[in-house]
C-alpha cells in the first residue's frame, strides 16, 4: 500500500559512505529540475510584475489581486469548491461499502461486479457524455453544477471502489469474525470494524476523486454554459483565450487553480497510493 514510504526503513543500514549517493542526488536533481520547468514558469510569471506594470519589484502579488478584482475568479473558485467537495463526500460514501463487498466477497458474482467495474472504467467519458447530455437536457440538469457532480461521482466510481477494496484487503478478516462472534451483524462488522480502520483508504479515495473533479475540463465544457456557473478550469481557459498577451494575469489565474491540489497533496501524500489498484484488479 505505502508506495512512497515502504523502503525507507530498510535503507538506513546502507546510509553511510555510499559513493553513489551524491551521484544519484545529482541525477535526480537534474531530472526534477527539467520536469518542473512548466510548473516553475507558472509560479514565476504569476508573481512577477506584468507587461503593463511599471513596477520593478522582483515579486508582487499585484497580478493575483488584480485578477480577483477584475474577473469572476471568486465565483469560479466557489463553484469548483462546491462541486468538488460534494463529489468527494458522495463518492466516498458510495465507494466504501462497495469496496467492502469487493474485498470480502469471494464468488462468481463478485468477479462479475469486478469485471463490470473494469469495463466501465474503460468506457470513454466522451461516449457517455453525449447521451447524458441528451438525458440531462430533459431533466434540466444541463448547465447545472449538480448535474456535473453526478457525472464526476460516476466516472471516478471504478477507481474509487478499487482503492477502497485494496485498502480493506489489508484489514484482517479475523477482526470482523471476532465481532460476529460477539453478536455484531454483517453491517456492524463493516461499519464498526472495517470502516473505522480504513482512514488511509478513505483519504486515498478522497484525494483521487478530488483530483478528478477539480481538474476536469471535458465534462464542464460540455455541460456548463453560463459564465457564473463556470468551474475554475473553464474560467482559466476562457480567460486565457481572451488574454493571450498578458501572461502575468493568465498565470495568476492558473496559480489559483493549481495551488489547492498541490497543497492537499503535499499534506496528504503519505496516505495516497495507487499501487493497491493493481492487487484488486488482479484479484490478489
Amino acid at each position: 500500500m505505502t508506495a512512497l514510504h515502504e523502503a525507507d526503513a530498510s535503507d538506513v543500514r546502507v546510509k553511510r559512505r555510499n559513493p553513489w549517493r551524491w551521484l544519484r542526488f545529482a541525477v535526480a536533481l537534474i531530472i526534477t529540475a527539467i520536469v518542473l520547468v512548466p510548473v516553475a514558469v507558472v509560479v514565476l510569471l504569476a508573481l512577477r510584475p506584468g507587461i503593463n506594470s511599471t513596477s520593478h519589484a522582483l515579486f508582487t502579488f499585484a497580478n493575483l489581486s488584480n485578477v480577483f478584482r477584475t474577473t469572476q475568479l471568486t465565483t469560479w473558485l466557489g463553484n469548483s469548491l462546491a462541486v468538488t467537495l460534494s463529489t468527494v463526500a458522495v463518492a466516498v460514501a458510495v465507494a466504501a461499502p462497495a469496496g467492502y463487498v469487493l474485498s470480502r466477497g469471494r464468488s462468481r458474482a463478485v468477479s462479475g461486479y469486478s469485471l463490470l467495474l473494469f469495463i466501465v472504467q474503460s468506457l470513454p467519458v466522451i461516449t457517455a457524455l453525449i447521451p447524458l447530455f441528451i438525458l440531462f437536457a430533459k431533466l434540466h440538469l444541463v448547465d447545472s453544477l449538480f448535474g456535473i457532480g453526478i457525472i464526476y461521482v460516476g466516472v471516478s466510481m471504478s477507481v474509487a471502489v478499487w482503492m477502497m477494496a485494496a485498502y480493506m484487503d489489508s484489514i484482517p478478516v479475523s477482526l470482523e469474525q471476532a465481532a460476529w462472534i460477539d453478536g455484531a451483524s454483517l453491517f456492524g462488522g463493516f461499519y464498526r470494524i472495517v470502516l473505522r480502520n480504513s482512514l488511509p483508504g478513505i483519504l486515498s479515495t478522497a484525494i483521487f476523486t478530488y483530483l478528478v473533479s477539480w481538474n476536469d475540463y471535458l465534462v464542464a465544457i460540455v455541460f456548463i454554459r453560463t459564465q457564473t456557473k463556470y468551474t475554475l478550469p473553464l474560467g482559466v481557459e476562457t480567460f486565457f483565450q481572451q488574454n493571450v498577451i498578458d501572461w502575468a494575469d493568465v498565470m495568476a489565474v492558473a496559480i489559483v487553480i493549481m495551488a489547492p491540489p498541490v497543497i492537499v497533496f503535499a499534506c496528504l501524500h503519505r496516505y495516497f497510493s495507487v499501487g493497491g489498484i493493481g492487487g484488486s484488479l488482479a484479484g490478489q
Binding site: 544519484r24 458474482a109 461486479y113 468506457l123 461516449t127 453525449i130 475540463y217 484479484g283
Partner: protein, 313 residues
C-alpha cells in the same frame, strides 16, 4: 446485477458464526446487507455509465440532434465515418499517441522508481516533487506549455535557435505538433507509472538480489532476469490502465493544439467531440465514440482476462 450481487454473500455467510435464529434467516439478512452495501454504486454505474453506452449504440444508428432522436438510418453513420479519411487519420494518431504515451511514461516512470528506490539525500522531497505533473490541472500545464513553445519567440524555440538547431514550430508544424503532444502526455503520465512501479518494486524481496549477486549477476542481468519478471503482473495492469487513459484523453490534446494543425493531432475523442459539439452531427459523432469504445473494451477485457489467468496460476 441484482441476483448476482445476492449470491456474492455466500462466503461471508459461511464464515459468519451461527447466531440465534434459523440459519436460513441469517443467510438472508447477510445477503440483503451485502446487496444494500453494493446497490448505490451499481445504481450509479448503471445510470452514468451503462445507460449512456446503450443509448450511444441506439443514437449511432439514428440521425438525431442534441434535442431530438431523429429517424433510423441503419449503418449509414458507420459507413460515412469508415469511408472518411479524417476518421482513419484520427485513428492513426490515436494509436501513435497511445503507444508513445504508454511506453514513454512507463519507461520514464520505472526509471524514476528505480532511481528513487536507492537511498540518497532529499529522496522523499524528490518523490513528491516528481508527482507534480500528474497533480497540476491539465488546464494549467497546457497554458504553461503554450507559453513555452507556442510562438517562434517562446523560450523553448529560442533555446533551440541559440543552440543552432533552427527554430522548430512546435505547435504549427504537423510533425512537431505530434511530437510536442506526445512528449506532453508522457510528462503528465509518468508520475502515475512511477507510483505503480514503486508499489510493485516495494514487493520485491531484497534477498533475491543478494543471491543473484553471489551468483555473479550484474546490474543489467539482475534487472532483466529478476526485477522485470517479478513486477510483470503489476506492469501489465499499469499498461492497460494507461492505454485506457491515453485513448480517452481529451484535455491534453484539446487544450494544447485543439487537434490541429490541419487535424494532425486530432485523436478519435477530439474528432467525436468536434463532430457532435462543433458540427452538431450527433449520429456520426456517437458512432465514432462507440467504435472507439468497442475496440477499447475488447482490448482491455482480453488483456484483463490474461492477467487474471496469470494471477491464478
Amino acid at each position: 446485477m441484482t441476483s448476482a450481487a445476492g449470491t456474492a454473500t455466500q462466503p461471508a455467510a459461511a464464515t459468519t458464526p451461527p447466531r440465534k435464529g434459523r440459519a436460513a434467516r441469517r443467510f438472508d439478512v447477510n445477503r440483503m446487507t451485502m446487496l444494500g452495501l453494493v446497490a448505490p454504486s451499481v445504481l450509479l454505474l448503471l445510470v452514468v455509465n451503462a445507460y449512456p453506452f446503450v443509448d450511444a449504440a441506439i443514437e449511432s444508428v439514428h440521425n438525431g440532434s442534441l434535442i431530438g432522436s431523429g429517424s433510423f438510418v441503419g449503418f449509414d453513420n458507420y459507413r460515412s465515418i469508415l469511408t472518411s479519411g479524417e476518421f482513419w487519420q484520427a485513428a492513426e494518431f490515436t494509436l501513435i499517441f497511445t503507444v508513445v504515451g504508454v511506453f514513454g511514461s512507463w519507461a520514464v516512470g520505472l526509471g524514476m522508481a528505480l532511481l528513487l528506490r536507492a537511498d540518497f539525500p532529499g529522496r522523499g522531497l524528490f518523490k513528491v516533487l516528481l508527482l507534480l505533473p500528474w497533480i497540476v490541472p491539465v488546464v494549467v500545464s497546457a497554458t504553461a506549455m503554450n507559453y513555452l513553445v507556442a510562438t517562434p519567440s517562446s523560450p523553448v524555440p529560442s533555446l533551440f535557435h541559440a543552440l543552432g538547431l533552427g527554430t522548430p514550430l512546435f505547435l504549427a508544424n504537423p510533425t512537431w505538433a505530434r511530437v510536442t503532444v506526445c512528449v506532453y502526455k508522457v510528462w503528465i503520465s509518468f508520475p502515475f507509472m512511477m507510483l505503480m512501479s514503486s508499489a510493485a518494486l516495494a514487493g520485491v524481496d531484497e534477498s533475491v538480489y543478494e543471491a543473484a549477486k553471489m551468483d555473479g549477476a550484474g546490474a543489467i542481468q539482475q534487472f532483466r532476469h529478476i526485477t522485470l519478471p517479478i513486477i510483470a503482473r503489476p506492469t501489465y495492469i499499469s499498461w492497460i490502465l494507461m492505454i485506457i487513459f491515453c485513448v480517452n484523453d481529451f484535455p491534453t490534446i484539446y487544450l494544447l493544439t485543439g487537434g490541429g494543425p490541419v487535424s494532425a493531432t486530432t485523436t478519435l475523442v477530439v474528432l467525436a467531440y468536434r463532430t457532435v459539439f462543433g458540427n452538431f452531427l450527433v449520429g456520426p459523432g456517437v458512432a465514432i465514440a462507440f467504435l472507439m469504445t468497442l475496440t477499447l473494451v475488447v482490448v482491455s477485457v482480453v488483456l484483463y482476462r490474461q492477467i487474471r489467468k496469470a494471477a491464478f496460476q
